[in-house]
Amino acid sequence: MAGIILEPGSSVKYKTGDWRTFRPVVDPEKCTHCLLCWIFCPDIAIRRGEKVAEIDYNFCKGCGICASECPVKAITMEEE
């Protein structure tokens, strides 16, 4: 009724990665692990990783905010 979903947290099952036109690619050589991309990502689709930021392509919609915010230009947007 009314579209109520009784199981909490079910949105993890809804993969939004296929909305993407451009994919962010992290250059591990340039990444300083400052994690600004992790803070700015509106879809919580970036994981902190061990040494470099890691993109979760299951949920990244390809908005490009991470690439735009990266202070060392370590993220490039590549066409899918």
């Binding site: 009724m1 009314a2 579209g3 109520i4 979903i5 009784l6 199981e7 909490p8 947290g9 949105s11």
Partner: protein
């Protein structure tokens, strides 16, 4: 013991909300707000009710807050009017779509431009497809009685829809008249504490308001339609039980003289009172006239209206709002379509009247009856849509 109080329509609604033991009222406190919530805020300040009063910055926020409160399982009331209802428009659909049994008092007033503030039905008619159950009261007594019944109807597990109780701006909202009120205990027994099936609860999280795309949206809308179609049965049940405690009988339609009427007027709200006085006088002159006054406008009382037109030879429908460019006013469009659907061939005259609070006097309603009786004789409708008491 029931007692008679001198109440304006607004005060009657506020008093009913107070007795209904409302948990939350969220409202925008400035114009076009009414005395309904002003008085309720006094009850809160005086500690006469155990309700949370949320003062918000707009009607859009008022209805948003009401939706949130209702989803926690609270009993929620609010009120608005005119531009306020228009600003709420988006959230009205969310309240009904999320099946929130909110009750709202609406003092029906004109919409700008030009700026007006006086009574007509433009505001609610502009939102008539919002999925709310819509009740129209004729006087302060009816407004009081319907608010109490509205909570019962709205919160019924098979209905779970918001209800708007409409009262004509100024004519009812600001005019004082005697109204018999029930005692607090009787209302309390009539309205037990609300039990929501899926309340928002941090211990049992759930998702409300999720996305539903072409694969599911339609089914949820059909559930809503089923619920509002079930409402008349629940409304009748509520009316019967309310009659037992109040002695006042309500229903889907308020009929006068329809057992033998040949010409009748369909109208909503306070005009019903004026029309009844005129009809009574005409019947004394031996003219068979009647009144069909829907208490419930949504869901539309289709079957009831067709049944009521049994002996009629002509019908007039009075619309206190203009549907610009439409063949008829909104009420008349509904009436005509249902008569056509049921193959009831009847001359129908539509009158738009009283826009922006223009007074509708008995002489004008008498003229409507005269023309309707004439159509009953001749079977001819010269002008299907006319505008009453206006300078051309």
């Amino acid at each position: 013991m029931p007692q008679v109080l001198g109440l304006t329509g607004d005060e009657a609604v506020a008093y009913a909300a107070k007795q209904s033991d409302v948990d939350v009222v969220a409202a925008y406190p400035i114009t076009p707000q009414t005395i309904m919530v002003e008085l309720f805020s006094e009850y809160v300040a005086n500690g006469e009710v155990h309700a949370e009063f949320v003062c918000v910055e707009s009607e859009h926020s008022a209805m948003s807050a009401c939706v949130g409160a209702s989803l926690t399982g609270a009993r929620v009331f609010t009120a608005t009017s005119s531009q306020g209802l228009a600003l709420m428009h988006e959230m009205l659909y969310i309240a009904s779509g999320l099946r929130c049994p909110i009750v709202m008092g609406v003092a029906n007033r004109a919409l700008s431009a030009p700026i007006n503030i006086h009574g007509d039905h433009s505001d609610m008619m502009g939102s008539r497809d919002c999925g709310w159950i819509q009740i129209y009261a004729e006087n302060a007594q009816e407004a009081y009685d319907w608010v109490i019944q509205a909570f019962r109807i709205a919160e019924d597990p098979e209905v779970r829809l918001p209800v708007a109780v409409n009262l004509d701006g100024f004519i009812l909202s600001h005019c004082m008249e005697g109204a018999t009120v029930l005692d607090d205990e009787a209302v309390k027994r009539f309205l037990p504490h609300r039990k929501a099936k899926y309340p928002l609860d941090p211990e049992k999280p759930l998702t409300i308001g999720a996305l539903a795309l072409p694969d599911y949206y339609y089914e949820f809308k059909l559930q809503q339609e089923d619920a509002i179609r079930k409402a008349p049965e629940k409304i009748r049940e509520t009316n019967r039980e309310y009659e037992e405690i109040s002695g006042r009988r309500y229903g889907i339609l308020d009929l006068y003289g329809m057992e033998d009427a040949e010409a009748a007027v369909v109208c909503l709200g306070s005009t019903g009172g004026t029309a009844r006085a005129v009809a009574r006088a005409l019947r004394k002159e031996g003219r068979k006239v009647g009144i069909i006054k829907p208490w419930v406008y949504r869901p539309f009382p289709a079957r009831e209206i067709v049944k009521a037109t049994g002996n009629l030879k002509a019908l007039a429908v009075m619309d206190r709002a203009c549907s610009f460019g439409a063949p008829y006013g909104a009420l008349c469009s509904d009436v005509v379509s249902i008569l056509k659907q049921q193959r009831r061939d009847l001359p129908v005259l539509n009158y738009v009247y009283g826009l922006g609070g223009r007074d509708t006097r008995p002489s004008e309603i008498r003229a409507v009856f005269d023309e309707t009786l004439k159509a009953a004789d001749t079977g001819i409708v010269e002008e299907p849509l006319r505008f009453l008491e206006v300078r051309e």
